[in-house]
């Protein structure tokens, strides 16, 4: 394989060779499938498992799955679950505390992870994982649980050729074509996938498949589909002069306006693929001999989250919405050198109150923040 070659064709009819290759490297394969009416990462063992048979329709505060006869395999863009569920798990046992003769002993839960290959991660989610890498693995202290899950994850992304009402990855420069941080990328055409490798591990697997190099016209067709998906996105996030523009809006009246609609329910942060807040729960047993310490997802929308000894730093929903938006779109840049938002649209789709992050950002920053291109 020469260095100039960068894309190949994998015919849908021969897709199972890909599964065999993954299995020979001991990967458990997961793909987004519809289970009990919800899209979840579910084990796939053959090509047939990838054909979703449903398409999703996402709107502000609304998500619908419709059965489809179409021969598109990856007809669902994404569900509420992102890669976050696999790397930063909603519940993570950390320590078991045991009463002993001598006092108490602490048994740390050792990080353990199985080799997982996900097929069907979208560009926004791969971008989100790179953001979480900086959060959990950057700096002096690394999160061992995240690290173990992350290192055993092989990412087979699927480029988007179709966007939803709530998607705005194009304006965040994270998609719809997966840019970095993937092992293998697929673009679905009618009878075949265009295959690209993005890492050494990905390249090794692809090379073993002995695929034909993709002819120029097919690669071009794939690029056109992705480009079409990008221009079809109506939502664009204002990015002018961030983070300062948001810091200046600290006292905006709009925070009170959004607080009349916001339920402080935390759904937006739970589904956001980059949100990393967590709390520690301690559960003793009735005999008071042991206690389990578990890390669980928490949220800045939880009214208890801003509580420090004797004082709540964010006592109102207006404070909390301001915190969420200012951190996600603004101070994240100071903290981690990038926006905390990848434009996946989940916070907007899954908000039971129908609050649209982009609309609120435009309302806070002013219409003109939109016009000038950042």
């Amino acid at each position: 394989m020469s260095d100039s070659v960068d894309s190949w064709i994998l015919k849908k009819v021969s897709f199972d060779i890909f599964f065999s290759a993954l299995k020979s490297e001991d990967y458990k394969v997961l793909s987004p499938q519809v289970e009990d009416g919800a899209v979840t990462w579910f084990e796939a063992s053959e090509a047939d498992d990838l054909k979703q048979g449903f398409s999703d329709q996402q709107n502000i505060g609304s998500y619908r799955l419709n059965q489809t006869e179409s021969d598109v395999w990856f007809s669902i863009v994404h569900g509420a679950q992102s890669l976050k569920s696999l790397t930063f798990k909603p519940r993570q046992a950390t320590v078991k505390i045991i009463k002993t003769e001598a006092g108490i002993s602490f048994q740390a839960e050792q990080p353990k992870a199985e080799k997982i290959a996900v097929i069907g991660a979208r560009a926004c989610d791969v971008a989100a994982l790179q953001i979480q890498d900086r959060v959990f693995l950057g700096g002096a202290y690394q999160d061992e649980y995240f690290k173990a899950n992350r290192e055993s994850l092989l990412i087979i992304a699927v480029n988007c050729t179709h966007a939803h009402e709530t998607c705005f990855c194009a304006s965040m420069n994270t998609g719809p074509k997966v840019k970095a941080g993937f092992d293998i990328a697929l673009t679905e055409l009618k009878d075949a996938f265009i295959v690209e490798a993005g890492s050494m591990a990905g390249k090794r697997i692809v090379e073993a498949l002995n695929l034909t190099v993709a002819p120029k016209d097919m690669s071009k067709q794939a690029d056109r589909l992705i480009e079409h998906c990008a221009v079809s996105q109506k939502k664009r996030m204002p990015q002018q002069n961030l983070p300062q523009a948001l810091y200046e809006k600290q006292h905006s009246e709009h925070w009170d306006d959004v607080a009349t609609r916001c339920l402080s329910c935390a759904n937006c942060t739970m589904v956001c693929p980059t949100c990393f807040c967590h709390a520690i729960e301690e559960t003793p047993d009735m005999a008071r001999q042991t206690s389990e310490r578990v890390r669980v997802w928490d949220s800045c929308f939880n009214p208890e989250h801003g509580y420090i000894h004797g004082k709540n730093m964010r006592p109102t929903t207006a404070d909390r919405y301001r915190m969420w938006m200012t951190h996600k779109l603004g101070s994240w840049i100071d903290q981690f050198d990038s926006s905390g938002c990848t434009g996946c649209g989940r916070c907007t789709t899954w908000c039971p109150a129908g609050i649209d992050l982009v609309e609120e950002a435009i309302a806070v920053l002013g219409e003109d923040a939109m016009e000038k291109k950042a």
Partner: protein
Amino acid sequence: MTSQKQRPRLAVFKLASCDGCQLSILSLEEDLLLLDQAVDIAYFPEASSRMEDGPYDITLVEGSISAPEHIEQIKNIRAQSGLLVTIGACATAGGIQALRNGADVADYVATVYAHPEYIQTLKDSTPISEHVKVDFELWGCPIDKEQVRHFLSDLLAGVEPRFPEHSLCMECKRQEHLCVLVAKGEPCLGPVTRTGCGAICPAMGRACYGCFGPAEVSFPAGREHANADALASRFSEALHLSNDEVLRRFKGINSHASAFKETAGKWQKMEENKHE
């Protein structure tokens, strides 16, 4: 209570209620035996015929104040109790029987009973906290047995029990259930309902009906009110519920809890105005 020599004395009382919360305690099974070792179960008629007089260190009260004699009873219970803990929606918020509050109770009594003259009842069904000081409140219809277990373990370990009071949605999402509100258009009360049940209704694909009461977080500076109004508007505008359907969502097991009561009241007014 920290004294190991003498086990703390536990009592469980019942006022106007269905016994469901007491059954949740009985369903602790093996942990019930451990509880029996840790405390002296001095008064629990639902579980044992041994009924000892007070004082008690920990008293759990099920049921609302619904009949005239309940007022005296709860004062006596309070006087004999170290810690008084309400268990369930009835004791904590007045329960399903509070649906009569604001209506003509004599009318109900006449409709339901063959001999209304034998019935003595108060006009309103009210929570214990409207009558005596309450130290802890466990919500739910019925209470969650895990929460009871956790509560008693903390208490016996000498730790102040603390339960999250935020919205159910957080737990629902941690368990990664499909959101029935967003994905099915079901009028789920989860966003304004206190967590604690383990999201058992959304886990079964059905909307939460708020049996754990409003998600109201208490701070030293006061209580934060759940934004039930905004959810009600959403039910009407996006899910196209009629005014009557909206108010019925909030007029359920915890209709007397202020956040739900106020919202239901507003929609009731709107419904009445429509008919004028």
